[in-house]
Subunit: 359 residues, 4 copies
């Protein structure tokens, strides 16, 4: 018997990725899909067509799965969580807070929204990185009297940074991180998303709230769960987040000061070793390589590296010594914002929670 799941916010960028990630899933079956009033009662294929231009707003390379084409999009209010085992939510609006708590009273909610990320009894989970924070969900249930819980993923820009930093933190300690992101247009959503007139032949050097999110989330995810509380990791994080004319996948340049001395070869070994032993290996959505390290100095490149393992692999290149920090290392990372950084990462999280008995 597969778990019965619903996708909330199904017409948006992340919602559509959920649709694909859950196609023929061995453990989960999509029973209901929901979106805002505007889309409600339409068939999925009709709900995602822009009424002015006539363009189908489907930007994923895989075609629309058959199972969802004719499925009716419900209004969020018409979803009854008591008939479900799990809810994937990608509501981006201010409404996320109310919607997710309404459902969490009855059933686990895995969310890509920021609504609950910064609350004390809510872990921000990246499967394979901070699985031990899952225990905070028990605390959350108790605090709030919920049968379910809300388990949010981080911002898609945080994901790649934390995944690449975790092996360094474990092995060498981490004191300081300076990061510049070059983020894909798909990270800004799809309706309407970034205007072509704004971004063609251009860079927008500012993404509202993004830099604070990365800083806060990095500390929390890499922190320790002590006495029912997360003690954030101590490293200092500073970043500049930009939007560039790239369709999918975030590129980040990272400069790190580690606690103990290290060198590029040791860093690469640590990343590879971590990847080979990652906890989520073998789960249905887990990639063959969790972390991949290139020797080719021209990699990672979004157009090439977004294709690896269906966007579930975090890709690193140009690992070099940095000469500004005391124990300085610098590298470039690539993380697929719509796959590991969002819906597929959420499905991987659901799989991990399932194996632990939380779903």
């Amino acid at each position: 018997m597969k778990k019965r799941v619903a996708i909330i916010g199904v017409t948006g960028a992340v919602g559509q990725e959920f649709v694909v990630a859950l196609n023929n899933h061995p453990w989960f079956e999509v029973k209901q899909i929901a979106a805002s009033e505007r889309s409600a009662k339409k068939k999925f294929v009709d709900a995602i067509r822009d009424t002015n231009s006539g363009i189908l707003k489907w930007h994923i390379r895989d075609p629309i799965p058959d199972y969802v084409k004719e499925m009716t999009v419900e209004s969020v209010d018409d979803i009854n969580p008591e008939n479900l085992d799990l809810i994937f939510s990608s509501v981006e609006s201010e409404a996320a807070r109310d919607i997710e708590s309404k459902f969490a009273k009855y059933v686990p909610v895995i969310s890509t929204s920021a609504a609950y990320r910064y609350e004390a009894d809510v872990p921000i989970l990246i499967p394979g990185i901070n699985d031990e924070h899952v225990a905070l969900l028990d605390q959350q249930r108790k605090n709030r009297g919920w049968k379910g819980f809300v388990a949010p993923l981080p911002n898609c820009t945080t994901t790649g940074l934390v995944i690449t930093m975790k092996p360094l933190l474990d092995k060498f300690g981490a004191q300081k991180i300076i990061m510049t992101s070059m983020q894909a247009m798909s990270g800004a959503g799809r309706s309407p998303g970034v205007s072509a007139l704004d971004i063609t032949d251009n860079i927008i050097p500012y993404i509202p709230k993004e830099e604070d999110k990365v800083r806060l989330e990095t500390g929390k995810i890499l922190g320790k769960l002590v006495d029912g509380k997360i003690d954030p990791a101590k490293m200092k994080v500073s970043c500049t987040c930009t939007r560039v004319p790239v369709i999918d996948g975030h590129t980040e340049t990272v400069f790190v000061e580690t606690a103990s001395h290290t060198d590029p070869e040791s860093v690469k070994s640590a990343m590879k070793e971590f990847s080979s032993k990652v906890s989520v290996a073998g789960l249905p959505s887990a990639p063959k390589e969790y972390l991949l390290v290139h020797e080719d100095p021209t990699r990672p490149q979004p157009r090439l590296d977004r294709e690896i393992n269906e966007g579930m692999t975090t890709v690193v290149g140009r690992v070099r010594e940095d000469t500004v920090f005391d124990n300085g290392i610098k590298y470039v990372l690539f993380s697929h914002n719509e796959k590991m950084g969002s819906a597929r990462g959420a499905v991987l999280l659901a799989e991990m929670l399932h194996t632990k008995g939380y779903v």
Copy 2:
């Protein structure tokens, strides 16, 4: 004493071009600007900033003129036409019909919208091409009991086609036109405009209603005004309109059957001669060359040819014999959709109407 003008729809793509085209205009002075309720009572610079991304939606290469920066955007309802001599309207919504007629009762309205284009007593005017249709405005005033009138420009895709066909029609007659357009993203407006996710590395082979507009408007503009009615030109027109990843300027491939035999050299001569004698020469917004014919087979190119004479020149290249039609000629044209094809063309029209005493 300059004429007192207002810009309606000032925050949109075309409205902004009006702002630039009227900066330091020798004859016209912008007294009021208006837009929808959402923008009303804001300063212009605040009204054009996107509230989510924080991005200033100003896509014109010239900076925002000082005269308009701090000007308050009025609600359309707050514009009193009796204090004005002329209104430029670029309202794109369904509301254009009511708004323009409300103003036209009192004052001339030059419009880039389609609301009145296809009515019998409304000429579609391209200055330099069908100036004799201006007389229909008298008819319109009489019919409707208006002190002003509505004088619409054609769709921006029609403009270049008609301008390049006019010399051929006059000299050789024109029976058939087959045209394919590759239209710039700015033609789809600015809020939100074309989504970068839809158009990057892509072509959208469909623009709703565009092909019918081109067909109808070409016949009407190139028709004759006889007994207070426009008798459309008889040539057959068929086209396919596409959207391509180009910021500004429409490119069109044209295949024509003329009535009498001709050849590429004669066609080029006819175009150049027409250009040298065009009626609007010398008006403040008229370009040095009305029509420009390249011998270089790699022209016209949007990135190079949009710069010529501030986008007011229609540019032709690759004039060759066509072997499918009986008297066949084919060529490629470029027309700047936001300049001659829209706001600046409207200002040129106002100048022409002014010299004729209509404004």
Copy 3:
């Protein structure tokens, strides 16, 4: 026992597609690869790396197949055709003529170059379209005293046009074709290929020699083989070929005059019926749909339609009546220039020739 094949011009755009198309092929095994002196004696992965920028010039979404990575690139002169059963050639230079004839003395050569396309005893073959022209290869062998032969594919811009016209020609006759192409950048090769400075935010309305190729090849492929000679199809063809900022896949707008009256529904039916009965169905490289007809007016779109059946399907949309021609039909087509239009199409041709005993 698999047939032993070589790829000549392996480092170029088409050559790389051959590498992928022949990976794990059930009938063919790549035994040798060759390129110009500059690449000779290097490993494949080293030969395709740009020495200035350090960038690996591999632009295909599939990763480099393992079988070829370490294979040594030979100089063309070092290839001994007597150890081979078949040669795929994508030599683009003037040298193609000599190279291909040298090999064809001993072994069949399937070529994407234009060197022999226009000779009387050389058919231009599109598998599924003019299979009966294969018999001309016997003539060619006899004329030239070759054990092998040269069988060229058409220009990639011709392919989609001919594939979509064939069902119309068979069912309704075809008198006139007017076509405008919007061609992908990959069609211009890869070293160096189109410069980003030339094509970003731009259109180049000219591709040297392309329009003549399309005209000549369309007539020849759709012609009849009578008494050892190809009698070209009689329809008139006129086109304008442009380069647009799209990575892969050519889009073409087509306006057709058929001999007998028809209508859009009949045209779509004819295309679908042809597709369902196409001769090459079931061959290893044949797509599930040879021709696909969209009802969605916003299709075909390069970014979406290039993914269908690995680029082997010709995709049609916007089938409408045309009002300029007497029996006029217009539509938009998409054809993947690097797949069906080039290397994969060549492999499909090899498969067809194999089943007929020519390879």
Copy 4:
């Protein structure tokens, strides 16, 4: 009497910018232009046309100035420096070293190449930043027995960094700089330049040698000339340089540790004050604003900011506190790589050297 100048490497990206920058120059007159053998003896307009595609390789918005169109491109060997007062060189090849020294024996050479940048008696000059290093040219003349000298500009990526750092260094001291560049495609030259297939929808995270150049040049330019030697500035510099799909203009994110405590408002004031007092103010090529500081967090943007003062203004935005460094400041800068960062910057340098009597 204007100074007689020659442009060496006139057909390349930088050479063409020299052509424009020297058009109607009040002090300099182009008497000769030269390029490699391949272009020699052609007219300029013919020499810059690509023979394969037929495309004119002119990517500057201004049209080709009349003065140069019909001028004959000489072979470098045919330039006689004794008839000249000044040479602008943008030779990019390995040949730069020999060519520049050959000319420098007789006449001042202002160069954009790297050939002599790192030699002890060669200053790297940015007009307005390290004018006092000009004195090292006397030393160079003496050392080498040259009548002229070689005065190179820095790498275009260094320029913006140094210009923005100079006011900080002067006022607050500077200990550490971490920088990430997002560099325009035009920085990679024009023949062939970056391939569209490499960079469309992509980022290349590596530019050979660029990072070392930035580090070395920053220290040298911001250093002090003491006893005929440049004592490099002591700050540590680390950077990651990337190529992005932007036509013109480099964007850089900068994280700085100053020696004494500061804050964003003080940094902005220091930059504005420096700009208002810059030494080169009033020279023919000097911009109205040398440094411009935006308050709008979405600036600088390449498409908007490259237009300011014809690309001669370095533009700064997003000045904020950085929390990783002890006295941390971070900002984003934009510098036009083909204008201030290259040919126009070289002409400004020539003007400065002229006022000091060196030219």
